[in-house]
């Protein structure tokens, strides 16, 4: 595997950091200039990231080492297929979220917008840092940057609940961070290095029980951000944040970063072989299945739209982890691909929730009767996204579900196939009523006749993301070769030829 040395990874990261500073200094008085910085940064970021795709798909990795921190560990960025996959997703969805949040914040005349955009840009900085990190240490640095920069976003509304939500967010994530810190220390103590190696590098170091314990602390640590149960509680509470933040949290950066890190640990630190030997793959798979089923059932019980979506996210994240835990080629590919698939679909759903809130000031599902006739594009996109999450072809969600099912067959564990099918049923159960009620029931309030969509800033991203869900479903390698990157990553992990 050839390595290219280039500053592109750093450039991609710095674009949003510099953008954040520009946003901060531009401030409230020149709002349009400030919004311009966000959009410019997002566009630049995406183009730099996209420019790295051709080389990485051909099998090269792009590397950039900054500082030597201590023996064996440097502040190093190594762009491999998996990392680039996440980076592409994050930067692409940032463009959509940026446009959307402009519409949202202005529509609500919200306060502290400068702080909002500043933290958003910084959060993306953190997310890309995680994506490109070449070792656990660099990853941890950016993981923390992500946590800290998203905290003001969660507590943005500054109501007592928002402050509480922010506090809970920090409590969970910082405790997880402490566990990760501990696990990193032990890993370094055992092996003397922290670099990610496809297929893992912990084999042969340390006793079996120590490795099992270490795996547990790693998963618990990163699992907070990946919203695994039982450490998931921060996510529904964080729904008190403005919707673009929820979209960021769920689709673009935060939980995706969490699940990305979990996969890094599972596939690049421990590795399939070690997990097989220690039987940890089965433990993780059961753990994930438990989350899948429980979160699906809890989603049914929620009336608040965003909370239902939150539990749906927890459900899908666990599906991704299940894919990785099954350790078979299709499962890993499906799991990685689902990161992107779910991202596109979920962001559509959240955008819709936000649009409904801005335009109609409604948050609960019981209030949504008949809204489809007022906001057809919006709710139509919701229908598309929801069906995709359930795994309906030709939407992109179908592809990942298909591969995951294949993967559980390959792993010869029928249980998980059932789990996946049950989750599909649950998805239909909690999404279908929303779609039905909004289109086919008569609304309870007096609504003015005629179509009343939210502003173009919001509707355009909604529609585009929904369309992309369809396009990617039909051609998963459209535009940015998501599927190729996923399968490439899988091959390098399992060692099945370059």
């Amino acid at each position: 595997m050839e390595t290219i040395y280039s500053v592109k990874p750093i450039l991609a990261l710095l674009v949003s950091a510099v953008g954040a500073m520009l946003i901060l200094f531009t401030g409230e008085r020149r709002r349009n200039l400030r919004e311009f910085w966000t959009l410019l940064a997002a566009a630049l970021k995406f183009s730099i990231v996209a420019s790295m795709i051709p080389s990485v798909i051909k099998g090269k990795t792009i590397e950039c080492t900054l500082l030597h921190l201590f023996p064996g560990v440097a502040l190093q960025f190594r762009v491999d297929a998996f990392g680039l996959f996440f980076a592409t997703l994050a930067s692409a969805l940032w463009i959509a979220t940026a446009v959307y949040s402009i519409g949202y914040m202005r529509g609500l005349q919200a306060h502290s917008q400068t702080r909002f955009f500043f933290c958003f840009a910084f959060a993306l900085h953190g997310a890309l840092g995680i994506a490109f990190a070449g070792n656990l240490f660099t990853l941890f640095i950016f993981y923390e940057i992500l946590t800290i920069s998203t905290f003001p976003l969660v507590a943005h509304k500054e109501t007592p609940e928002a402050v509480r939500g922010g506090r809970k967010y920090l409590a969970y994530l910082l405790t997880g961070a402490v566990l990760i810190f501990f696990s990193m220390g032990v890993t370094y103590g055992l092996t003397g290095k922290l670099d990610f190696v496809a297929g893992g590098f912990l084999q042969g170091h340390g006793s079996d029980n120590l490795l099992r314990f270490l795996f547990a602390t790693f998963i618990l640590g990163f699992g907070t951000k990946a919203a695994l149960m039982p450490i998931h509680e921060w996510l529904p509470t964080a729904m008190v944040a403005p919707t673009p933040v929820s979209a960021l949290l769920h689709a673009v950066a935060v939980v995706k970063a969490g699940v990305f890190c979990v996969l890094r640990v599972v596939l690049y630190v421990f590795g399939p072989k070690l997990l097989y030997d220690l039987d940890l793959w089965l433990a993780l798979a059961y753990f994930a299945s438990f989350t899948i089923i429980l979160s699906g059932m809890l989603a049914l019980a929620q009336d608040n739209l965003k909370r239902r979506l939150a539990f749906s996210t927890i459900n899908n994240l666990a599906i991704i982890i299940l894919g990785a835990a099954l350790l078979s080629p299709s499962a890993i590919t499906g799991g990685i691909f689902h990161i992107a698939a779910h991202g596109f679909m979920k962001i559509t759903l959240f955008f819709v929730a936000g649009a409904i809130y801005v335009k109609m000031h409604k948050e609960s599902i019981s209030e949504l009767d008949g809204i489809g006739r007022k906001m057809p594009i919006t709710l139509g996109s919701f229908a598309i996204g929801a069906m995709g999450i359930a795994g309906t072809p030709p939407l992109v969600g179908f592809i990942s579900k298909w591969y995951l099912c294949l993967g559980s067959l390959e792993a010869k564990e029928m249980v998980f196939l059932f789990v996946l099918l049950i989750s599909v049923l649950l998805d239909i159960a909690y999404f279908f009523p929303i779609i039905y009620n909004s289109f086919f029931k008569k609304s309870k309030d007096e609504l003015k006749p005629g179509i009343q969509e939210a502003s173009m800033f919001m509707v355009a991203p909604i529609a585009i993301c929904a369309i992309l869900s369809i396009v990617l479903g039909v051609s998963p390698n459209a535009f940015v070769h998501f599927f190729e990157m996923a399968s490439f990553a899988m091959k390098s992990i399992l060692g099945v030829g370059g």
């Binding site: 401030g27 008085r29 201590f70 923390e144 940057i145 402050v163 402490v178 810190f181 501990f182 103590g189």
Partner: protein, 500 residues
């Protein structure tokens, strides 16, 4: 022996300036401040020059009065010294720059004396670090302490009493130190550190030497405010004027820690602390309680300054833990933490000074809306807070990393746990303040003010002479963290005893 003038320059300049400033104050008051800053700048530059030389040429020696050691007093500068020297002189320079406005507001008629005492304090601290002679260290220790007592007593209400208490404790500590110097002199006939380290190993079984070691450690522990001998610290540092706390808090305890490292690892060999008396083990357990105690007590404080003082006690615990762990990673973490903690505490106490200067009360409950009035200061606070908690890329993370690695190496899982738990406790402490200042409900009204109406600046920031050092320190916290790898490989690695 090198002909470099810097080791002596670094002491003499502040010392003479301290006296000249009184004269100058009598003649022309306005020149005092620039003069003091100039003197400290010379010190800071000398310390940087010294660091350069030590990195390239090895250990520097300077013989006072051209008397050869062990008869004469010798200044020895090795990488550890040079490192601490730079920290002390640069931070005291920054604090001096920032202190002008605070001092003029709080006690305008005593400004000149303040500058004189400030310079004396810095002289004392620098002298402790530079010297290679144990008795000379005592002299400088007392210079620094006396200047400290006087500086602290200028403060508000409880200050003279707190200073008196500090004096009693401090004198006990210094006298213990003097006693041990005496014991060592009796058995070896030498006062020179290098000489002692040569002569002592044969005498390790002697009771006198053991006593000397014990008195050394206890005396230094009092000066360094290691739990449970920290009792003088909370009152003394809380009631002292902000400019004084900003100088004394980051530096005095760190210099005390430096003396501890010198004694345990240079004068007495590392083996002594592990084999002859299990001093290292005791030290690390004491540090364990210091960390816990500091963090837990800080939780109960309503006054920001007092809370920071308890955090300081916990930080001293970290350093002592690193020293006590006795392995490479632990000691590296401790030395790195000397620098990081000095930076963090200086920044934090300067921020408290700025907040008080602007008229805000020190109670955390009353910080509502602070970030709108003093955004730059609060940003610096957030950065320092991240560093104390141990979140990268702030520097505190890196020293914590080494300490955790050291604890893992020593298989002391309880210490690993306390390091991590204290991070969480610190997070609670600091985010409480951040929440109050940034997010308190009511600080920002939703949908009330139309967004266009932001033309007027509602900034009420601290004056530039205070703001710039704060910002520089915060920038330092961020950059030093990432550069810690370079710092370790260039400097600290050579400061570790050879047997590690």
């Amino acid at each position: 022996m090198t002909a470099s003038p810097f080791p002596i320059l670094i002491i003499v300049v502040p010392l003479i300036s301290a006296f000249l400033i009184i004269l100058l104050g009598w003649l022309k008051k306005n020149l005092c401040y620039p003069f003091m800053v100039a003197a400290l700048a010379v010190s800071a530059l000398s310390s940087l020059a010294i660091l350069q030389e030590v990195i390239h040429h090895g250990i520097l020696h300077y013989h006072l009065g051209n008397w050869d050691p062990p008869w004469g007093i010798e200044y020895v500068i090795d990488p550890l010294n040079a490192f601490v020297l730079v920290i002390v002189s640069v931070i005291s320079l920054l604090i001096a720059i920032a202190s002008k406005k605070m001092v003029e507001r709080e006690f305008p008629h005593k400004v000149v004396f303040f500058y004189c005492l400030f310079l004396l304090q810095v002289t004392g601290l620098l002298g402790i670090v530079v010297t290679g002679d144990v008795f000379n260290l005592y002299v400088f220790l007392e210079i620094a302490s006396l200047a400290g007592y006087a500086l602290i007593a200028i403060g508000e209400d409880g200050a003279p009493f707190a200073s008196f208490n500090y004096m009693i404790y401090g004198t006990i500590g210094a006298c213990f130190y003097l006693l041990s110097v005496g014991y060592l002199y009796i058995v070896t006939g030498s006062l020179n550190m290098a000489d002692l380290s040569r002569l002592l190993p044969d005498l390790y079984s002697s009771k006198v030497v053991l006593m000397a070691f014990a008195f050394f450690v206890v005396g230094v522990a009092i000066k360094m405010a290691l739990f449970p001998l920290h009792v003088w610290l909370p009152d003394a540092y809380t009631y002292a004027p902000s400019s004084v706390t900003s100088l004394v808090a980051p530096l005095t305890t760190k210099v005390g820690a430096y003396v501890l490292i010198r004694i345990m690892y240079t004068v007495f060999e590392p083996n002594f602390s592990k084999v002859a008396i299990p001093a290292a083990t005791i030290l690390s357990w004491v540090a364990f309680f210091a960390i816990l105690f500091g963090c837990i007590l800080a939780l109960g404080q309503k006054d920001l300054k007092r809370m920071l003082v308890y955090v300081l006690i916990a930080e001293v615990g970290y350093i002592a833990l690193g020293v006590g762990l006795g392995n490479r990673n632990g000691l590296t973490g401790a030395i790195l933490h000397i620098m990081n903690d000095a930076l963090m505490m200086a920044c934090l106490f300067l921020i408290v000074g700025a907040i008080t200067y602007k008229g805000w009360p020190r109670q955390i409950d009353r910080f509502i809306g602070l970030h709108k009035k003093m955004p730059v200061t609060m940003a610096a606070f957030v950065i320092s807070a991240l560093s104390v908690i141990g979140i990268p890329p702030a520097c505190g993370f890196f020293s914590k990393w080494y300490l955790v690695l050291g604890a893992i190496d020593a298989k002391q899982w309880l210490f690993v746990a306390v390091l991590l738990v204290s991070s969480l406790l610190n997070a609670i402490l600091f985010f409480r303040v951040i929440e109050r200042a940034y997010f308190e409900p009511g600080a920002n009204e939703r949908n009330v003010q139309p967004v266009k109406n932001k033309a007027k600046f509602i900034w009420d920031e601290a004056p530039l002479s205070m703001l710039i050092p704060t910002v520089l320190l915060a920038a330092g916290i961020l950059s030093v963290g990432l550069l810690s790898g370079t710092i370790i490989s260039e400097v600290i690695q050579f400061a570790l005893p050879a047997s590690f």
